[in-house]
């Protein structure tokens, strides 16, 4: 195993993560960065780099570079916004890892914050904002396909049709993810989800029902990235960044290509596994970006865990659930039952698992953890492999 980079995550800060939270995204981000710096044992004055995650899918309350002033940070060596849609969190962490590896900065905080929920209003208003758009992509609004659920429903519908599968495979993802959420005190939905609960919930966009869609919250998550050497002496067990790769398919929208099912994980997996010598069999846990239940199925196949149409086997008979017989998946409840903070949701859970600080949901094997981020309608993809302290060097 050869790590691609000499970098590690040494601090984790989370604020909000509820629908009743009413502070602004900027204030939530400020508090999360302070919490992450404190968690790392360096305090806010130890931060010399700041990276803000930006996504077009987030609400209008975007973060600006003046977060530096709100934090009272002087003489930063790095302050920038990273935009890769839903893949912005891993892209930001990668930028931080490169910066510390190159000596550009020492302790870089990466933060994502969003406040799409107005307490007391319908959740569906959070992400279905009215748009017209430009060009051919704007025709999705002419077709009435506004929120992320509607376009990911197209991927789900085609996936089920091509492989002759039923909606039960989506139900298995939602039910398994809820079982993990029941063990996470920060999760939005903690009541067990029965198959009948799943199927009696209303459709949002066929074949996606209510529990196939992410649980939006207001909140922020920050992590602190430093070099591997410094991480070894940190206040927390270091979480090594073993590998990172992006994969942006750019599949044309015409016959001969299958854009709705072409997942960038195939390209990212090839890069990460080739460069580290790791294989899918080395992965103990997957923390997938699961804003919609179809997404982990496509990720499992693109990363080579299963051939096309067979990812449902990862979930069958509760195999990926707590106490299951196979690889645990989305152990904090993911976006579906946990909380939707885009790419930072799977990152935070991977850090907790790698530290063996995940409480009742701690997995026995948590040495090597795959994290994925997705943006657009499967247009932009990033993957990262984390290694627990002392396992890999």
């Amino acid at each position: 195993m050869k790590p691609q980079l000499d970098a590690a995550i040494v601090g984790l800060g989370q604020t909000g993560l509820t629908r009743t939270e009413s502070r602004s995204a900027a204030e939530l981000a400020r508090l999360a960065v302070i919490a992450a710096a404190d968690d790392a044992g360096i305090g806010i004055s130890g931060i010399d780099g700041l990276i803000l995650c930006r996504s077009g899918g987030a609400s209008d309350a975007v973060l600006g570079l003046d977060l530096q002033r709100a934090l009272g940070l002087r003489e930063l060596k790095l302050n920038r916004i990273v935009l890769c849609e839903g893949a912005s969190a891993l892209a930001a962490i990668q930028t931080a890892a490169l910066a510390v590896s190159a000596g550009m900065a020492t302790n870089v905080a990466c933060v994502f914050a969003d406040a799409p929920v107005t307490p007391g209003t319908r959740i569906s208003t959070a992400f279905g904002r009215q748009k017209t758009g430009m060009g051919m992509e704007g025709l999705r609004y002419t077709a009435g396909l506004f929120g992320g659920a509607a376009v990911h429903a197209l991927s789900a519908q085609r996936y089920l049709a091509l492989h002759g599968l039923s909606e039960d495979v989506l139900a298995d993802v939602a039910i398994t993810t809820r079982a993990w959420a029941s063990l996470n005190p920060h999760a939005s939905y903690r009541q067990p989800l029965s198959r009948s609960d799943y199927f009696s919930a209303r459709y949002i966009a066929d074949p996606l029902r209510l529990f196939d869609c992410a649980a939006p919250v207001n909140g922020a998550i920050a992590v602190v990235v430093t070099t591997g050497a410094r991480a070894a002496d940190g206040a927390q067990p270091a979480v090594r960044i073993l590998a990172y790769a992006e994969g942006h398919p750019g599949a044309p929208d015409r016959q001969g290509f299958d854009r709705a099912l072409t997942h960038g994980g195939a390209l990212a997996a090839k890069t990460m596994f080739e460069r580290t010598g790791l294989t899918p069999a080395d992965i103990d846990i997957c923390e997938f970006y699961d804003a919609f239940s179809i997404m982990p199925l496509l990720a499992l196949e693109s990363y080579g865990f299963y051939p096309p149409g067979h990812a449902c086997n990862a979930y069958a008979q509760g195999a990926a659930a707590p106490g299951g017989t196979a690889m645990p998946i989305n152990t904090g409840g993911g976006h579906l039952s946990g909380y939707y903070l885009q790419g930072m949701t799977p990152v935070a859970e991977a850090v907790l698992q790698a530290r063996r600080a995940a409480g009742d949901r701690q997995c026995a094997r948590a040495r090597t953890i795959l994290v994925t981020n997705e943006g657009g309608r499967l247009d932009y993809h990033a993957g990262m492999i984390f290694g627990s302290a002392g396992q890999w060097l």
């Binding site: 569906s124 279905g128 904002r129 009215q130 748009k131 017209t132 758009g133 430009m134 060009g135 051919m136 992509e137 704007g138 025709l139 999705r140 609004y141 002419t142 077709a143 009435g144 396909l145 506004f146 929120g147 509607a150 429903a153 197209l154 991927s155 519908q157 085609r158 049709a161 091509l162 209303r202 459709y203 949002i204 966009a205 066929d206 074949p207 996606l208 044309p252 929208d253 015409r254 016959q255 001969g256 854009r259 709705a260």
Partner: protein, 136 residues
């Protein structure tokens, strides 16, 4: 509920010809003069790199690449149609586009679909009529 028109996007340079033709009631292709690939909106052919295209009328015949029935109206134009169907149609000539889907349900992936010109606020747009019977 006040009626509001179906939103139709503005043109960008690649799609100017496509939207201009639809405003006049036609569904046109831009066919690459070098390699013959049919596009709907294009500046540089992604197959061969040519920038030379000829406008040709599309057959208006296609199949459902994928679809969904939507149960939430995020725009007032769709409020009195719930639930309604939208999806991606693959034209017989190859290109795909998002479009409202009209006609009988159930719709299925691969079902035949026929172009039906519609208008909203002086703009033209492409909807497709799906025949449930023909999809069996």
């Amino acid at each position: 509920m006040a009626m509001t028109s179906t939103p139709v996007p503005g043109a960008d340079p690649a799609s100017a010809h496509f939207f201009h033709s639809l405003d006049e009631g036609r569904l046109d292709l831009l066919v690459c003069r070098q390699c013959g690939t049919a596009h709907l909106a294009i500046s540089v052919c992604d197959v061969c790199g040519s920038i030379d295209f000829s406008s040709e009328p599309a057959s208006g015949i296609g199949i459902i690449y994928s679809f969904t029935r939507v149960h939430i109206a995020h725009h007032p134009a769709f409020a009195d149609q719930l639930p309604f169907c939208g999806g991606i149609v693959e034209l017989a000539e190859g290109p795909r586009l998002f479009a409202p889907l009209l006609g009988e349900e159930p719709i299925s992936v691969g079902a035949p679909a026929i172009f039906e010109w519609q208008q909203a606020d002086g703009r033209g747009f492409a909807a497709f009529r799906v025949s449930a019977a023909a999809s069996q």
